[in-house]
């Protein structure tokens, strides 16, 4: 695609901290290259803001290559913007044209309070992982990789679930702010493997309990999460977690 430059109008959510009430601010940005990423466009804007003595816009980012899940922005009504299976750092400005007005908001969920501007607190996800997203292993030498036979299909399904980067787009896009896709990916990746079997029942019960405690909503199977997930995590994982949960709830041990 041919390179072009564009002038844009940005409407960005500005909020001082989690206790203050935020509002939208309008910023004109000029001479943005179609080859830039959305975050680089923000870098240009922030440089301009800083050099003119104004406050910059705070946003989360880290890897800038689509693997860490930090870059969380709700762009023009979509989690991570107009492209599907994509993160904001991998969203390129060629998705927009000259003269566009772009509205950028933080993830909206009671469980993800806004810390500043576009930055939200996603530690609720960490606490869900702490509640059961682990396996117990004996210390000592690492076991031989082929010591445990694993069905190729299970290995692949587990690997796909494990590709969740914890970005929270599923929660952001869900009308119920439900975290079921994230939690089910974390439950599935371990439930499918022999290493995950010892804590299988307590894991799903504890992680779901923590999820509810954090104030995420209930899943009503709209499947918006799957459509907006940058890693294409399947809602089949949610069904698997429901299965795991029912089984664990019915078993006498837990």
């Amino acid at each position: 695609m041919e390179h072009y430059n564009m002038n844009l109008t940005l409407k960005v959510w500005k909020q001082k901290n989690s206790n203050s009430k935020g509002s939208f601010e309008t910023y004109p940005v000029k001479g943005i290259s179609s080859e830039m990423s959305f975050l680089e466009m923000f870098d240009v804007l922030n440089e301009q803001l800083i050099s003119s003595g104004k406050e910059h816009i705070a946003f989360d980012h880290d890897c800038r290559e689509g693997i860490c899940g930090a870059c969380s922005m709700y762009i023009d009504g979509r989690a991570h913007g107009p492209w599907s299976k994509n993160t904001v750092c991998q969203l390129h400005m060629r998705a927009f044209k000259d003269g566009d007005t772009i509205v950028v908001e933080p993830w909206r969920a009671a469980a993800f309070p806004v810390l500043k501007d576009l930055v939200v607190d996603r530690s609720a996800f960490d606490r869900i992982i702490q509640a059961g997203g682990f396996i117990s292993v004996n210390t000592g030498n690492a076991v031989d990789a082929n010591a445990l036979p694993i069905d190729k299909k299970d290995a692949d399904t587990s690997f796909n679930a494990a590709s969740c980067i914890g970005c929270g787009a599923c929660v952001a896009a869900c009308k119920n702010s439900s975290a079921m896709l994230f939690v089910s990916a974390k439950v599935s990746q371990l439930a499918l493997l022999p290493q995950g079997k010892p804590e299988r029942e307590s894991r799903v019960l504890n992680m779901v309990a923590q999820m509810d405690k954090e104030g995420f909503g209930n899943c009503t199977n709209t499947y918006a999460c799957e459509a907006e997930c940058p890693k294409g995590i399947s809602v089949a994982n949610i069904a698997r977690m429901n299965r795991e949960y029912l089984k664990a709830g019915l078993s006498t041990e837990s």
Binding site: G77, G217, N221, I238
Partner: protein
């Protein structure tokens, strides 16, 4: 939600089946006979209590889900494009259910209560002469009753287009081969049941059956 929803779905099969007897166009003879059997069989009377329990439970679950889910996003998006990632009816189950509830209140107070009054008032003196078919026919001469029923059926249609497959996912059933099949059966079920239900008031109103 899944279990109660599926129970209500299975009830609707019986309900639409019995009511479809009116299409035999025999002056309601078959329909009245089946309806009489349904209201006098004690097993069915027992199931009827279960039906009301399931419906009430389903509504209570729906309200709880709705309340918790509204609380999960206190600040809404200024700009939102949910149509890009999900179907409108999957996001409108509460609204569709509420429309259904209003319809059901009207529906039950018309036909169900009249049948019960005939059964029990004055020691069942009106039971033998109670003609549900004639009552249906009379009700469906009024255009506004027909309109209310059509609105009810349309709400049911969209509620079930999402609800049927959704119930299976909730119960943990999602399978490469069977889920597409469940979706097709769900659409087939919904289209057939809703079409038959919608035809009943329309057929009486238009005089196709009498």
């Amino acid at each position: 939600m899944g279990l109660t929803g599926l129970f209500l779905i299975s009830f609707l099969i019986i309900h639409v089946g019995v009511n479809s007897c009116i299409f035999l166009n025999d002056g309601g003879e078959t329909f009245n006979a089946v309806a009489h059997f349904m209201s006098h069989n004690w097993i069915l009377r027992f199931l009827e209590i279960g039906l009301f329990a399931a419906l009430i439970l389903h509504i209570v679950q729906g309200l709880v889900v709705w309340k918790q889910n509204s609380a999960a996003r206190p600040v809404k998006y200024a700009v939102n494009a949910p149509g890009a990632n999900s179907k409108w009816y999957s996001r409108s189950m509460g609204l569709l259910g509420t429309l259904l509830l209003f319809f059901l209140i009207i529906h039950v107070s018309k036909f169900f209560l009249d049948t019960k009054i005939a059964l029990y008032a004055d020691g069942g003196a009106h039971d033998a002469s109670h003609n549900l078919y004639a009552e249906m026919k009379a009700e469906f001469q009024k255009w506004w009753v027909v309109v209310i029923y059509i609105i009810g059926v349309i709400s049911l249609f969209w509620h079930l287009i999402h609800g049927f497959q959704s119930a299976f996912q909730t119960l943990g059933i999602n399978h490469k081969r069977y889920t597409p099949l469940i979706k097709i059966i769900g659409i087939g079920y919904t289209v057939i049941v809703c079409l038959l239900f919608a035809l009943m008031p329309v057929a009486f109103y238009a005089g196709w059956i009498n």
